[in-house]
């Protein structure tokens, strides 16, 4: 079975802090994604990566950056956390030529 893990289930941070969310997949997937989930808005794509050190902006990249130094790991960075970044963050991965994405359990981030 595909396993996607996220470093934390719950996080509480202060405004202005730098926040790191980590995602690891164990199936040698080329593609990895970061989404945020907000009530009534569904999932919105922040960034995705199709290979090591490669990344592309999604629909809402402002205030975020990403890092992919190894194939299995994709990190989301909030450079200076703000209260409007309070949300559920979901990581996903997929094989290059396949469409099904596999999701991690999510990180619920609260920025005070």
């Amino acid at each position: 079975d595909v396993k996607v893990t996220q470093s934390s289930r719950y996080l509480v941070k202060r405004t202005g802090e730098k926040v790191f969310l980590e995602c690891v997949q164990d199936m040698d997937h080329e593609n990895m994604f970061w989404y945020r989930q907000d009530p009534g808005l569904g999932l919105r794509l922040i960034y995705f990566s199709y290979d090591v050190k490669m990344k592309e902006k999604g629909d809402i990249p402002e205030g975020y950056s990403v890092s992919r130094e190894k194939k299995e790991r994709f990190s989301l960075i909030l450079e200076s956390a703000s209260t409007n970044q309070t949300s559920m963050y979901l990581c996903a991965s997929s094989f290059q030529d396949q469409e099904t994405q596999y999701f991690g359990p999510g990180t619920r981030l609260l920025v005070l």
Partner: protein
């Protein structure tokens, strides 16, 4: 641009009755269509997908979905609902063969199955 609409925020159904969760899409080209389910405090789980072929797609937990190209719809169905089906359901789309590999998701429909 591609988009997905889930017109119902919530669907209520009695256990044992058939259920339908609606999804319509808008893409330029041939779509890949997906349904995912999310249980409380969990990530999304894949239910089923349509790529090509038979318009009726069968998935996990007894769910199925019908691709209707003329109506641009991909409604999720189950003949007999269970209380344990209560969850948040997301429809998603991407265009076949081009564009980014990420999916575009609908806003989600909460399914409530009453005992």
């Amino acid at each position: 641009a591609q988009s997905v609409a889930q017109p119902e925020d919530q669907v209520n159904v009695a256990e044992g009755n058939p259920l339908t969760v609606k999804c319509t899409y808008s893409v330029s080209g041939n779509p890949y269509l997906f349904w995912y389910v999310q249980y409380p405090n969990r990530g999304l789980q894949f239910l089923l997908k349509y790529i090509t072929g038979d318009n009726l797609v069968k998935g996990s937990y007894g769910f199925e979905a019908e691709f209707n190209k003329s109506q641009t719809s991909f409604h999720l169905k189950k003949p007999s609902a269970l209380v344990s089906d209560s969850a948040l359901y997301f429809c998603a789309v991407r265009v076949l063969g081009r564009g980014r590999r990420a999916l575009t998701f609908g806003s989600g429909t909460r399914l409530q199955v009453q005992p």
